[in-house]
Amino acid sequence: MVFPSAVLLRAGFALCVLAAAWTLQITQGPSAPPSAAAAPAPQLPGAQDAGAGRWVEVVRGTIPMPQGVPAAHASTLVAMPAGDSAVLTAFWFAGDRESAPNVQIAASRFERAGQGWSPARIVVNRHAMGALLGFGLRRLGNPVAWVDGQGRMHLFVVATGWGGWAASRVLHLQQTAGSSASDLRFEPLRVLSLSWLWNLSYLVHTAPLSLDDGGMVLPAYFELGAKTPVALRFDSSGQFVGMVRMSQRTDLLQPTLLATAPTQWLALMRDTRPNGKIRVAQTMDAGRTWTDGPDLSLDNPDAGISALSVGAQHLLVFNPSTSSRQSLHLARSAEGAQWTTELVLEDGVPSQEFSYPAMAWADQSLWVSYTDQRKRIAWQRLVWVDGAAPAAPAAAQRAPALTAPNIRAMP
């Protein structure tokens, strides 16, 4: 086959253009961080044998709400660095009701000095963010917080376009330069581009998995028709690095991540089927590829869950029912497959709802927050007590709310 010389000439020129474009990409492009392992889990104080001991509630209460705001939902907790005046910061959405036009993102800090929560502050308002972005945000929803390698707070907030939650996008905010942790202010970085279809229907809910390179993996999910989980990776400065779909199934969402080994992780997920179970996907190569695993034996009423690794233990807070959110349990596992209920955090009547739990490890304690009746955010502080658990029914293991030295219960 003989090509005309003009074609060959143009082909050569096109190759030069492509080579120049390739060079530009290489020189401009940040090199991808190699696959990172999960950051080591925090160690339990003094507990080497996770089997011999139990979690005990030290104190519980509710986080102060913004003045005159009747509804709250979807809290997230983030542990603050050791030198900070607060142990941890909680974020949640607050307004007249879920998806109301006046919903804003509120924050409160658990102060080390006073051992109590600071008054709630509004840190994200959709009108203010819309003005900075140059386009509107219709509603605000779930927030997820993370502190990057430089100590800056990032906030990922669900923000909708035209439509309900299925029209959601994920707004990435970063702590404004010069704002202190006690006077948190955020500015928008970008709306994460995750979908070709007008970037619709991606949401976040659960906490990121920290990596040993200072970056993190943020679990997210698509929920327009098909409900599928994805993992979003960010480097230590909070730059988006890539996205990977975590399951081939299309009926699960709100993944929460556990590292069973540095590069072997589990995603436990909410089940949208009737008579649901907590669903599982797993990766053996630090999140690059995922496979679906067998369901856990734990029920799930199409409700959010939260998982965290502490020491050699994996912990899970979930609603132990296929139809109700009236109870909230803490379960423990050594390997992520077999779980035993450790503590009954809430056990309400059928009309009550305790949902959307979040967990964080800070100040040698396990902190749990969750939505209480959609009206407020409740919290509990748990500590690990070495020694054999008393032989008592699970419900009877519930410790009374203690007022331990230098810890006071909040109203």
């Binding site: 003009a6 074609v7 143009r10 082909a11 096109a14 253009v17 492509l18 474009a21 390739w22 530009l24 990409q25 290489i26 401009q28 492009g29 940040p30 090199s31 991808a32 961080p33 696959s35 990172a36 819309g130 003005a131 972005l133 140059g134 386009f135 509107g136 219709r138 376009g161 035209w162 970085l189 970008r190 709306v191 581009s193 995750l194 979908s195 070709w196 279809l197 007008w198 970037n199 698509f222 327009l224 028709g225 098909a226 599928t228 994805v230 990776r233 480097d235 730059q239 988006f240 690095v241 890539g242 996205m243 990977v244 779909r245 081939q248 299309t250 630090a286 999140g287 690059r288 590829t289």
Partner: protein, 239 residues
């Protein structure tokens, strides 16, 4: 390594360069400019359909006003609300809009304005390329739509962040010129496609993902309309 695992790896992190993302300061400017161009071109297209050449003056004025409306700040501006619903048009939509406006301004050719070049028929060779562009756009849109709803075992959208995907798209936009020579630029969709790909290479607008740069859902719907019209025309001519 199977083809499937190779493709799955290609969209994964830690394999190639991290995605280049557009500069943050550029996005509000791009959003307003892009909507302004696309809205003005839409007015011109609708005006040409409704009133032909006689409507030129009024249509032009309306196009300018709508374009200016997009630039108004905050909730007063169209870009604020269109961004809320649809984010940013693709670079290819912007380039096609530019082509429509350029034709309307310089040539006043109704067929050219209306046809976005897909209806241009300079001669057989170039007509084939116009149909290739149309078919490729329609097919890519269907693939991305199915991918959005997780109907494929791999994530096609995630590949769009890869430099290799950009180079492949750029090469494909240059291919008609390599094969057919400079006459290809008379096909109305040819230079916008190359221009959009080159612009994406420079600034990674609008999202860092090459699929977002080359096709947006509104453009895809329009292409489906053209494809349907072409198919019906073809069917009628055969009868």
């Amino acid at each position: 390594m199977t083809l499937l695992s190779f493709l799955a790896d290609s969209g994964a992190w830690g394999v190639h360069n991290a995605p280049l993302l557009p500069a943050l300061y550029s996005l509000p400017w791009l959003r307003h400019g892009a909507w302004s161009l696309v809205l003005a071109a839409t007015v011109v297209l609708l005006g040409a359909r409704r009133g032909g050449e006689r409507a030129g003056g009024r249509t032009g004025l309306l196009a300018v006003l709508v374009a200016a409306w997009a630039w108004l700040p905050g909730p007063w501006g169209l870009a604020y609300w269109l961004g809320l619903a649809f984010q940013i048009p693709s670079l290819l939509s912007c380039a096609l809009a530019l082509a429509v406006l350029q034709r309307a301004w310089w040539r006043h050719e109704k067929q050219g304005v209306m046809g976005l070049g897909f209806a241009d028929r300079p001669h057989h060779n170039l007509r084939v390329w116009a149909e290739v562009y149309l078919g490729a756009g329609v097919l890519l849109g269907w693939i991305l739509l199915f991918d959005t709803f997780a109907l494929f075992p791999v994530s096609v959208y995630a590949w769009g962040f890869e430099s290799a995907a950009f180079l492949l798209v750029f090469a494909l936009t240059l291919l008609p010129w390599v094969v057919s020579g400079s006459g290809i630029w008379r096909v109305g969709s040819a230079w916008p496609a190359g221009f959009a790909a080159a612009l994406f290479g420079l600034g990674r607008w609008p999202s860092g993902n090459v699929w977002d740069a080359m096709l947006d859902p509104w453009l895809w719907l329009l292409l489906n309309g053209y494809a349907l019209r072409a198919a019906v025309g073809h069917w009628r001519s055969r009868r």
